[in-house]
């Protein structure tokens, strides 16, 4: 029993606890204690990991455990973490923790809500710790399906449509993925010892080039759908707009990261040849995502749509940087995942709280909220600043790492796209400031809003946790980047010829 399985066991225990809970208080207790335990476990994991590393353990993955599951099919329950997964686990734990507080007063059916939420988190943790393709894929899908109910039951707006669209599109992605994974598996070795273990597949490096060129697009697009890659991003605006607060947080904050993580852990790591051959296609697509998301966000009027498009842009940047396949850019991509996860979660938490008060998300109907709810507004400004890449907050370090890394390519094609991607930071400023100016500043638009109250303790707690995390990465980026870089190096060295 390794520390990693704890991340699956705690949520399962939580599910049991929630199942037995009789009232709101017990539900909250279980949810809080469970998510706090997860957070503690995540921090402990980071410490242990860094400890192992500094003790000179240079294995690619640490804390590996391997149980045979389906002997005949070479399916194992195999877990292990490298720096990237550790970072992602920490991210998930933080967001789940904040999410629990953000949905403190969820109605109706609170028990069910938390149960689905926790099920979702099982999927997320499981995905990040898996090094077996099958378990990875399984956890991936476990994380997807609760979204349908979470949006459908607790959402708002045209929630049925959005929930269905989101689920179906993501499942479409995972259909491609499944094909890709099977394809990878059946070409994983030349000597007949087929394996689902990512590390072994990478070590064998046996996938023929022809098959790489087929399987790479499959897996990349499969994960890319979840990573909101153009043109498969349209589930994102609708889905986020309809989802309840905590779900938006988790989804944008963690779930979309599954896409990016998968892209590099499966598609790029296992198929370096195809990565080199085909990355240009996806660079174009992700480049468009970056640009297109930012521009679209400029004219939206619904707060959540703005953020959703902004996520398209930022997540596009993640994939974009990954496709630059050098250590720096990929490190930046992972940092961007962390950063985007935290700040989008923060954004969605705040939007949820604002929406819970004003009952509108239309920026034209709000104004002067700074006066009415200063705490939320200040947090919103901080989130905005993080999003537009203010130094000292997480967005900056991530974006800069990406740009410096991407610029390391000398060919004109990549140069031009890098510069195009850079311009997105200006557009980001435009739409962030537009929103801030419209809803927080200026005169109060709706006199009814004057009666509204500022955040209460659990809301404050939730946002503060996230802000601390955002600022933590922004101010002390070195440990994060070192944590990630070592692991990325192994991967990027495979790709770079």
């Amino acid at each position: 029993m390794s520390i990693l399985s704890i991340f699956v066991i705690i949520p399962i225990l939580m599910l049991g606890g929630l199942f037995l809970s009789r009232n709101m208080k017990q539900i909250r207790t279980v949810a809080t204690i469970g998510s706090a335990l997860q957070l503690i476990a995540a921090i402990v994991l980071v410490v242990l990991f860094c400890g192992e590393r500094s003790a000179g353990n240079t294995a690619e993955m640490l804390f590996m455990v391997d149980h045979v599951w389906f002997q005949a099919l070479n399916i194992h329950y195999a877990v292990g973490v490298d720096g990237v997964s550790v970072a992602m686990i920490l991210l998930s734990a933080i967001i789940v923790f904040a999410g629990v507080f953000a949905s403190w007063k969820i109605e109706p059916l609170p028990k069910e809500f938390f149960m689905w939420l926790i099920l979702l988190s099982i999927g997320v943790y499981g995905f990040f710790i898996s090094i077996d393709l099958f378990t990875m894929f399984m956890f991936y899908e476990v994380a997807l399906i609760p979204m349908y109910l979470l949006i459908g039951i607790w959402g708002s707006g045209k929630k049925y449509y959005s929930a269905m669209k989101l689920t179906l599109m993501l499942m479409g992605g995972s259909a491609l993925l499944l094909l890709g994974i099977l394809g990878i598996y059946f070409h994983s070795a030349t000597d007949g010892n087929l394996t689902m273990n990512i590390l072994e597949i990478a070590k064998n490096d046996a996938i023929p080039h022809f098959w790489q060129n087929i399987l790479f697009p499959l897996t990349f697009v499969g994960f890319g759908v979840l990573g909101a890659m153009f043109p498969f991003h349209t589930w994102s605006p609708d889905g986020h707009a309809s989802a309840p607060t905590a779900v938006s947080m988790l989804h944008a904050g963690v779930l979309m990261k599954l896409g990016g993580y998968g892209c590099f852990r499966v598609a790029m790591y296992l198929m370096p040849y195809a990565t080199q051959e085909l990355s240009w296609i996806f660079l174009i697509l992700t480049g468009i995502s970056v640009f297109y998301g930012a521009y679209s966000a400029c004219v939206q009027t619904d707060l959540k749509y703005i953020n959703a498009y902004s996520s398209v842009s930022h997540c596009g940047l993640v994939l974009f940087a990954l496709l630059m396949w050098n250590t720096t850019a990929m490190t930046g991509a992972i940092m961007q995942m962390l950063s985007h996860g935290l700040m989008t979660a923060l954004f969605f938490a705040l939007i949820g709280m604002i929406y819970g008060r004003t009952h509108t998300r239309d920026i034209r109907e709000m104004g002067g909220l700074m006066k009415i709810m200063p705490f939320l507004s200040v947090c919103y400004v901080i989130a905005g600043l993080a999003s537009l890449g203010l130094p000292g907050l997480s967005g900056f370090v991530a974006e800069m790492t990406i740009f410096v890394g991407s610029f390391d390519h000398t060919d004109t094609f990549r140069r031009v796209f890098t510069i195009l991607a850079c311009t997105s930071i200006v557009i980001t400023a435009v739409y962030i400031l537009r929103v801030v100016g419209k809803i927080l500043y200026g005169p109060v638009q709706d006199q009814h809003h004057l009666k509204l109250t500022d955040a209460v303790w659990y809301e404050k707690f939730s946002t503060i946790v996230l802000i601390i995390a955002v600022a933590g990465i922004g101010i002390f980026p070195l440990w994060v980047s070192d944590l990630i870089r070592e692991s990325i190096q192994v991967i990027s060295e495979r790709i770079i010829p």
């Binding site: 002997q71 005949a72 099919l73 894929f137 269905m164 499942m171 259909a175 094909l179 099977l182 598996y185």
Partner: protein, 483 residues
Amino acid sequence: MSYSEFLGMGAELSLMAVIILLFIYDTFTSSKVGKYLPITAILLLGIQTLYLAFGNSLGLGGLNDDTSLFGGMYVSTNISNVAKIILNIGTILVFTQAASWVKEDDMKIRRGEYYVLTLITLLGMYFMMSAQNFLLFFIGLETASLPMTALVAIEKYKENSYEAAAKYLFFAVFSSALMLLGLSYIYGATGTLYYTGIASELTVTPLTIVAIVLFLAGMGFKLSLVPFHLWTADVYQGAPTVVTSYLSVISKGAAAYALMVALTTAFGSGSEVWFNVLYIVIALTITIGNLFAIRQQNIKRFLAFSSVSQAGYIMLGVMSYENGFGDASLLYYVLVYIFSNIAAFAVAGAIERASGKLNINDYDGLYKTNPKLSVAMMLAMFSLAGIPPFAGFFSKFFIFYSAIETGTIPMYVLVFIALLNTIISLYYYLLVVKAMFLKDNETPIATIKSDGYTKAVVFVTALGIILLGLVSCVYDYIYNAAI
């Protein structure tokens, strides 16, 4: 003439014993004692299943691995034994589901017939699966379908029941006529009806091609493969829910296994023919089944089309006959499918009996009033759609796994088509979930008080849906029998 060979057919003999016992019990007991018929049936079948499962290791005899009896007409292997166990489990579940149904006044007088006929069809399926000769196969097939007609018609005064029975019967006989035509051509071309003989004699000529296609068409009827599936929805809708669930899982599972045995053993040398025909049929089945399912409002019709498309997935296992995973994955799929579909039918049946409502719209807001039934239904839907961590995910994955292992590009394409269809299927399965969980309803179905049997079947199937995949020993058991 050594009739001691009969003793080698442990599975069939024990089932026959169960049938006779039940028959006697039903015929010669008063109605007072007669009400214990359901539990007796379940217990007897349970014992027989235990015998099948453990008889060999306990040294009870009759279940020797790879017995070839009656001059090679009948063969029992480990894997066919496992297939029979799986069918038995399904039948036990159906019987449990049926227990509260046969207690109704209208059904009381026919419950004996229900159990005996159902078990006789099961016996027919046993023979179908163990047959190594097309004559035995054909008689098994007919033993499985003709009494089934009577079962479909068992609620004979209900409006849809006789219509369903007539359709089923005519369709069944028509398809068996076509199949017989095919078999006669096979016989003409090869001169034998023994699988092994056919395998060594068969050459690909127009005659054998037509024969194989006709044979497939005949089996396609049992499996509801497109374009031989059109009876499915009408019959499923019209038949009593319990019979429908039996029809949709057990009969289908047996047919799938028997078809696989026949195709791989007898038509092995014509594999390129049936492989390609089946390829098209599978693609059509999965797609058309799904497309029809989208628009259904009646839950039973809906499940009918869903089972059409599921049959397509099952057949993917046949496509991968060349590797060891094909039959294991197929049987595993059938097992999971049994659990999922019976869960769905059990819930639908319980609701139908309590409120008479069968439309998906009527399920709006069901979770508020009947949370447990809703959750069970949801598990069933998720499992059918292949959502982890439920068993359906594993069975789908394994079937794709075995299909792709053949390694050819067309198989990738076929799996891809199947995968695209899982998206469509997810859509309509989610429609049910949506109705139960998401929608609000002014007048939801009132809280249903289920009896112990219904609770038991819902609980067991739900548990099965959760555990069958996660617990790897089930698959390992099947796989070890298959190799």
